[in-house]
Symmetry: C4
Subunit: 214 residues, 4 copies
Amino acid sequence: MNSLHSLTDEKDTQRVEAFSDGVFAIVITLLIFNVHLPDPALVTQHGLLAELGKAWAVYLGFALSFFFILVMWINHHRLFTLIRRTDNGLLLFNGLLLFGVTVVPFTTSIMTEYLNHSEQQTAIILYSGWFFVVAVMFNLLWRHASRGNRLFSPYADLRLAAAINRAYNLGLTMYLISVLLAFVSPPISLAITTAMGVFFALPNQRMSQLAAVE
Amino acid sequence: MNSLHSLTDEKDTQRVEAFSDGVFAIVITLLIFNVHLPDPALVTQHGLLAELGKAWAVYLGFALSFFFILVMWINHHRLFTLIRRTDNGLLLFNGLLLFGVTVVPFTTSIMTEYLNHSEQQTAIILYSGWFFVVAVMFNLLWRHASRGNRLFSPYADLRLAAAINRAYNLGLTMYLISVLLAFVSPPISLAITTAMGVFFALPNQRMSQLAAVE
Amino acid sequence: MNSLHSLTDEKDTQRVEAFSDGVFAIVITLLIFNVHLPDPALVTQHGLLAELGKAWAVYLGFALSFFFILVMWINHHRLFTLIRRTDNGLLLFNGLLLFGVTVVPFTTSIMTEYLNHSEQQTAIILYSGWFFVVAVMFNLLWRHASRGNRLFSPYADLRLAAAINRAYNLGLTMYLISVLLAFVSPPISLAITTAMGVFFALPNQRMSQLAAVE
Amino acid sequence: MNSLHSLTDEKDTQRVEAFSDGVFAIVITLLIFNVHLPDPALVTQHGLLAELGKAWAVYLGFALSFFFILVMWINHHRLFTLIRRTDNGLLLFNGLLLFGVTVVPFTTSIMTEYLNHSEQQTAIILYSGWFFVVAVMFNLLWRHASRGNRLFSPYADLRLAAAINRAYNLGLTMYLISVLLAFVSPPISLAITTAMGVFFALPNQRMSQLAAVE
């Protein structure tokens, strides 16, 4: 099978990436489809702008999740500039990560539904907690692919790989801290989770420098 | 990282385009899924054709948005005949544009829901206004990629780039005028917005000539 | 611009095909998502199998539309084994065809909803009629691309192009007959529409022979 | 037409795979969109975690179906490392398989809806039974493509093809046994169906060895 694999390497990751792109594209699009129109009766009473304005937290929550899914896609894309070979483990770990991604709209709905509700804290713990779970899934995929550089392109930039290692170690720690803080102060937890999204949205070099400082 | 990038250039934009195509395809398809069947009780009373006919404005609104999303995709496609390299900024500006695109079904639902309603004008301002926002996002993406031709293919047709510049400057102005006019006359605003869609659906040469005349 | 086009030909159709594949894939998948679970109260009373069985016409209708969308995709794929160049007209005619495709789930829902209802005939006229509209859209796309072979690959099999011409002329006639017959006998109309689906699902050679006999 | 085919081989399977990837990606993503938020009134009364906890069987059922769709995609991917040519039969058998895949969310909803209900056994028979139907569809596709190696790449690994043959014969038998057992003991049927999912998730070599032992 080795000879087959060396022949079909390029093709294998192309299809994994296409399948993953499809899942990311659907999740990021359907997020917004979960936002509902305001109640027509209330609109007639208070006006359209007033009713849309009342739902600002919902819109902000969905915009935040859109940003997180985008950052996840950018990071998936970044990993696959290095990964060129596939094996069965990669397909399964990538599938596990996609499972994590498809659940984000569900946790987003829970959070936006229960803001300003007695269950707000539980909702934010679940929302932040799921991003920690996704971070663990990213780590599993990355560790599987990068151990001994085994699924890398021969042209892989090993300094980029080292930068990702540093960033993922930092990321895992910070997401865990964020979940634990959610039990104490949900707003601080949300702020740290958002900051980690911004961190992973940075270009490789900048991200690498920040993670090294840590 | 530069050596890596020069090796993987082709691949990088391919995946950005695939992801974007996925989002455009889902948004354009789901537009129509937002159109609901007529109420069975009313159909039994007045007949199917009569009930479908009553909803003509809804169908027209969704067909209009389908056309706009198609034109946006054609223009995205046009930009990426020039853009061949990616960087972190391109991924983020492209993500911002996709955010704009995924919101269009929401503003479309608002407009079609509130036609012939006391809130009609607000709904049309939001609908036209969002297209202005998307035009701004297209400009940000384009300016980031075209500054110094930095993300262009070495074979990029610079006359096409100049034509796009002219068209985007005109587009931004016209969409802004359209939003402002919506406060005075919603139908004229809708007409200008539609005319801009037709303008951006034209072939490059024709679009370029019209923008130059302006 | 001509020199640019000759350089990016391959890429242009690839992206049109990717976008179209996305739309076809979403439409064909969401068809089934329109099928609803039986009413739990009725299931408790009559049993699950009995309630599922009552909805057989709905399932058959959706399976039929799945088959039609599949056949449309196969024919789109067949056209693009010949078409290798794109121009603005192709993007717009292809967009128009995709509009036709995305409406099929709507006409399918209308038909399955109004079977065994006083409005059954109107529903079947709309269902069959829309397939005639889609056939017209296929013809517009094909005529635009094939006039003078202008968007063809230089390696295009011109016998295949001639076979498609014959099949499309036959198809347009038969779909029109089917719509007209729906005013007289809906079941015969549905049968002809289905037969045309089977005809376009045949391999090129067989389809070509049958169309030649006509 | 033969000369045409030898020129466009690579392209043909690429588009079949892209279309199939799209369908798999949409089905696997929308599975989770079928999971609903808990009833707000009950959440206020019993707490969010308690209400989410009550629905554990629903979440488990959807995670199970996510895993099955993923395994189907991995196996589709595995078949197309061998298949490089397409013909009309392949397009139709692949379309039939995709039909099978798109129905899985429907059978999943039925199963999760009727757990702990008098109709539980019927629901599990339908759920397990449909996986048997999908296994038959996989066999039809595979037999069509592999007969005389006719749609294979000239570089196809024939030992891998033989391994798939053995695994598919075993799979068909086991899925049939699983359906029949569902009439006697639904839990054992579900366990065998799950075990077959794990079996098909194994790497080729391991799967081949296990199938050979059988």
